[in-house]
């Protein structure tokens, strides 16, 4: 099962490390990352495989949302089906 983690906010040192660190801790495998910094705004989209995750999906979402607050960025963790449903016929 795949999920999409998005991180949006002001650029800072260690955002990627913080997010990937949390993922590694709970067995979430990062499949693909796209990341850019535009005019100081950090935007990252991460595709992750959560099939071997050691925590339930909702807990993963809570962990990362909290981490985002700590780093001053907005983190969303959403099941990939929502994007497939909305953007593919």
């Amino acid at each position: 099962m795949n999920a999409v983690i998005t991180v949006l906010g002001k650029d800072d040192v260690g955002i990627l490390a913080a997010v990937s660190g949390e993922c590694a801790k709970v067995g979430v495998n990062i499949v693909e990352v796209t990341q850019s910094v535009l005019q100081g705004m950090f935007a990252m989209i991460m595709f992750v495989d959560i099939s071997r995750s050691t925590v339930p999906f909702s807990e993963l979402a809570d962990i990362l949302t909290e981490k985002g607050e700590e780093k001053g960025v907005k983190i969303h963790v959403m099941h990939e089906d929502i994007f497939n449903a909305m953007h593919k016929i």
Binding site: T34, V77, M78, H79, H87
Partner: protein
């Protein structure tokens, strides 16, 4: 592969444009709870609702978390209670309202709909007693919603019921005068009421429905408005296309939630209601969509045309996104629940007569409109009759949810708070239709009904 533009668009819709799934409504048949002993019937009703809906709220919340999309309401619609009341004719049906309220609290839903009667062709046993009891039921409960269907395209309009409902609406407001007349805000009078509507206050579980079903109402006026704003100067054909594409996306999110809720609760999926349902929150207004199309203020000439386009494009976009479509499906125009409409009503650009015209092309009717406290019941009945006639002739649902503001006059305000919002009391033409209303009888079904 999903592209990053699509991902960011979805997140922007949720974070900044109020994209949400408005309601996941569980329809529950209570036909097997009918009993001539009202206490036993109530016991069965309570047990069945609590058994079927015990995981509804929890499941809604977990789906919301998994997909990152807010699901605002989890609600319940039940079989019209008049059908249960028919079996115990000597008892006051408010006992059922009390039971529904208790069950709603127990399972954690904020509204339960179905304190209802279908009387479009006449009163069956249970109907009259239930209608009589509506004001008391709405005054003594918090979460129960009531609706009465007084006409259909097939059957015509039951004018005895129209006359009665004018009085019932007024009484419902009077009994809750100390609470901003909230009773009347929980009561809808329908023509062509859908049996699978997930939205309150008019939701009930029709007699043709299965034992239990999940219906979902989508929303997202803010998303539509933002999409039109982004498009800038384009012609009206392009606007219609933008609305269609946006409605498709919104509805697909609803369909996903509906499918998931149905799977997790092991309850069949019924329909997705393709609706644009506003809330008083800034950025969640249907009126603002119409204004974005190019009107100075909602209610200006052109409003009906813009609304017709909007309503049609929402359906065209949504219908392909869902395997089953139903309910009310279209744009809602509840005045006190829509920030743009509240402003337009305050400035008197939006009047009751304009709203009546708008209801000919939108999905519901005269919805959440505060009227002066001294409006006589017959005038309310006259408004109901006009609205029902629009629905009957155009083979569409129309509804009336008026709130007589007891002790207040036009220009003053009512404030319900929360999603019901608040707004100015609108001017009403007080010329009397009393003789017409008191004639009783039925308006015959129009030619449109003879389709066979």
């Amino acid at each position: 592969m999903i592209n990053s533009h699509d991902i960011l668009e979805t997140i922007n819709m949720i974070d900044n444009e109020n994209l949400d799934v408005r309601t996941v409504t569980m329809g529950i048949s209570l036909l097997d709870c009918i009993d001539e002993d009202i206490d036993r019937a109530c016991e069965k009703v309570y047990d069945k609702i609590c058994r079927y809906a015990k995981d509804l709220v929890k499941t809604g919340e977990s789906i919301s978390k998994d997909y990152g999309i807010p699901i605002i309401h989890k609600r319940i619609a039940v079989t019209p209670i008049a059908m249960l009341a028919a079996a115990c004719p000597t008892k006051n049906p408010v006992k059922f309202a009390e039971t529904l309220d208790r069950a709603a609290v127990q399972v954690g839903v904020n509204f339960v709909g179905g304190y209802s009667a279908l009387v479009h062709k006449g009163f069956a046993p249970g109907d009259y007693a239930l209608i009589e009891s509506i004001p008391e039921a709405l005054a003594m409960t918090e979460r129960v919603c009531s609706s009465v269907n007084i006409g259909t395209t097939k059957a015509g309009i039951n004018m005895d019921a129209v006359a009665k409902m004018g009085k019932v609406i007024r009484k419902s407001a009077e009994l809750t005068a100390d609470r901003e007349c909230i009773g009347a805000a929980k009561l809808v009078v329908f023509c062509n009421a859908p049996e699978d509507n997930p939205f309150m206050a008019g939701a009930f579980h029709g007699p043709g429905e299965p034992d239990c079903v999940i219906n979902v109402g989508v929303s997202g006026p803010g998303v539509v408005r933002a999409a039109i704003a982004k498009a800038g100067d384009c012609n009206i054909t392009e606007i219609a296309d933008i609305v269609k594409k946006t409605a498709f996306k919104i509805t697909r999110a609803g369909m996903l939630v509906a499918g998931e809720a149905s799977k997790r609760l092991s309850v069949p999926f019924g329909i997705v209601d393709l609706s644009l349902a506003p809330t008083p929150a800034i950025g969640d207004s249907v009126a603002h969509i119409l204004e974005e199309m190019g009107l100075e203020e909602c209610g200006a000439y052109g409003t009906t045309a813009c609304l017709a386009l909007l309503n049609d494009a929402v359906k065209k976009g949504g219908v392909m996104a869902s395997s089953h479509v139903g309910g009310l499906s279209g744009a809602f125009i509840p005045v006190t629940e829509d920030a743009g409409m509240i402003d337009a009503a305050r400035s008197k650009t939006l009047t009751l007569t304009k709203l009546e015209a708008m209801t000919a092309v939108c999905s519901v009717g005269l919805d959440m409109i505060a009227i002066p406290g001294n409006t006589p019941p017959d005038v309310i009945s006259g408004i109901i009759a006009d609205e029902a006639a629009i629905g009957m002739v155009n083979s569409k649902t129309t509804a009336v949810r008026l709130i007589p503001a007891i002790g207040k006059e036009a220009g003053e305000e009512l404030n319900f708070g929360g999603l019901l919002g608040g707004g100015p009391i609108m001017d009403v033409n007080m010329k009397s239709p009393s003789k017409f209303i008191s004639r009783g009888g039925r308006i015959p079904a129009p030619m449109q009904s003879l389709k066979n």
